[in-house]
Subunit: 344 residues, 2 copies
């Protein structure tokens, strides 16, 4: 596998020196794997790194040439790899969303918060719409620092959106917006570790979440979402990165999905981008392990996630229903290199 | 689940009357499920069908309005939902490929052949390139009516491409092109039902296939591909439709993938389109069950597949290694409504 990542890096650098954060975005390994490979290639004098820029050495250039490594950006510049445009109807939704989001609470490290770009939120809503999962549906959102509930409700399509989040500031903000704009949203403070409330079980058609990417975190977030679904045919949407979740972790996640009675219907690579907004989690970038390791400030939107869609083919079976207190930190494991040190 | 498909249909028709083949493309159900729902909606006087066009009845329009169903095409028109453009380097590859493909053997119903669009083939090559799976790699192709091997080899990047196909005409064509253009391709006649040749096992980095979409067919095509891989980190690319493979079948496929030691890293909906070329399988459209059922000629590129990418996280373990003669037809099951009646 690392042989492939090495080729991705050589291809990327064959086009010239680039920011190390852009390089992260042009390869598929997790952050610890990437960092180790970077060190090996530097020690092997294939690449040189300075001031957050990575380039090929003379020896590296010879190697790249011998292999025939060339850099081509094949992603569609119009939709930024998502395959979706923002339709005029949804542009109006985006405008209102942007106005509202100005007042959003800023992310706090305590809860490992971080939000995706407004355009990414709208495209997620569009994708849910396209699947027939938005119209007159009951949607449950587990953790909503993205304010997905607001974007979805602004379309006027969902019947009801219920949000749970551990952060009271966020819940108050969402409830206030819901009231002000007469949106069918209800938000409630809830920690995924607590037993899941009976009255919310089997009441929804769709769940949406951006889980914490540790195995216990994933199990909890996905189980809580799954608990809310009515039955077969219901679906879930969530983002997972390749950066803080290696392929071995993805393998475990896919097993969980299967065991809960779901098929994966979509996996859209790099669908969601976490921008460097002043309120986003890059505010405390000095507390992110990857930034410390690289010793360079973030200068590129490198943190992206793959959008999964899953659909129940059996009666949805959450892996956890009662309380599950995680002894180790909920938010961190050995791959959490983009999670602030304070998040535990 | 059918409730969701019903919403997709109402949304699609809220924009006005459309070809029934376009409608197939705007919903997620398999062909038998779609057809059944179409009949129910016609009997319920929600829709009317004539001359291959579907529209809402008066009652249907009222229902759509009550629900607030609206049609928006949210797909990016520049890349046709794929997220990828064709980069200049690959445009040159496309030009050569088109020139060569003029002489391709026409599809025969006997082998359930059908090929994806040249642009789709090139984008598949680009996606393989982007993953680092093209450069100096050894690629195995199981069934190559798409002529993927030729497109990939024309980039000059792969070390070696080995093709197996049951169709001698295709094998001869590929070998002739390989010789004429000095491409590192070797093609051999082989029926996936035969025991897999020892000398081809564990010799490749990547496999590519477009499996027959019956469970035994899928098991065979994927197992043969998996047999060729060297070890963990190696990958496979293949297309599967939602039209001839329901979500229950996808669930089984995903279990197979997991059991063979693989994680799914990508699933790109509608990535590959089967165009209505004169040599393609729509030539014998009167033999396709769906065409017979609908009683309307094809007037839209409706047959598309999702591109899967899988990656071995363990030692790849094919589900079948020896001979496996399929008693029932290899090519057909109750969902094969776009497979010609002659294909068994």
């Amino acid at each position: 596998m690392m042989e492939r990542i090495r080729k991705q890096i050589l291809q990327a650098l064959a086009g010239g020196e680039i920011s190390v954060y852009k390089l992260i975005d042009l390869q598929d390994a997790s952050l610890p794997e990437f960092f180790q490979l970077l060190q090996e290639m530097e020690e092997g004098e294939i690449i040189q790194i300075s001031d957050g820029k990575v380039g090929l050495t003379e020896k590296g250039r010879e190697l790249a040439e011998k292999l025939g490594a060339k850099y081509f950006d094949v992603s569609c510049e119009h939709c930024e790899y998502t395959g979706l445009k923002i339709h005029d109807f949804f542009k109006d939704v985006l405008d209102k969303y942007l106005e509202i989001a100005k007042e959003r609470p800023e992310t706090v490290e305590e809860y490992d918060q971080g939000y995706i770009s407004p355009e990414g939120v709208i495209k997620r809503v569009e994708f849910v719409y396209e699947r027939g999962d938005l119209l007159k549906s009951r949607i449950f959102v587990v953790g909503d620092d993205d304010l997905f509930s607001i974007a979805a409700a602004l379309t006027g399509m969902p019947e009801k959106i219920f949000v749970v989040d551990i952060d009271e500031r966020l819940i108050n903000f969402i409830n206030k917006v819901a009231e002000e704009y007469s949106l069918p949203i209800e938000a409630m403070v809830y920690d995924v570790q607590q037993a899941f409330p009976e009255e919310l079980k089997k009441k929804f058609d769709v769940f949406v979440t951006d889980p914490v990417e540790t195995i216990p975190g994933l199990k909890l977030f996905l189980s809580r979402g799954v608990s809310t679904l009515k039955g077969p045919g219901c679906s879930g949407y969530f983002g997972i990165t390749t950066l803080e979740a290696s392929r071995k972790k993805w393998y475990e996640i896919q097993k969980m999905i299967h065991d809960m009675g779901f098929v994966i219907t979509d996996m859209r690579r790099k669908f969601s981008v976490y921008p460097q907004d002043e309120k986003n989690f890059f505010r405390f970038q000095e507390k992110l392990p990857i930034v410390e390791k690289l010793g360079a400030k973030i200068d590129y939107d490198w943190y992206k996630s793959t959008l999964y869609r899953i659909e129940a083919v059996k009666d949805p079976k959450p892996l956890v229903e009662g309380e599950m207190i995680i002894d180790e930190a909920v938010y961190r494991d050995s791959e959490s290199w983009a999670t602030p040190y304070g998040a535990d």
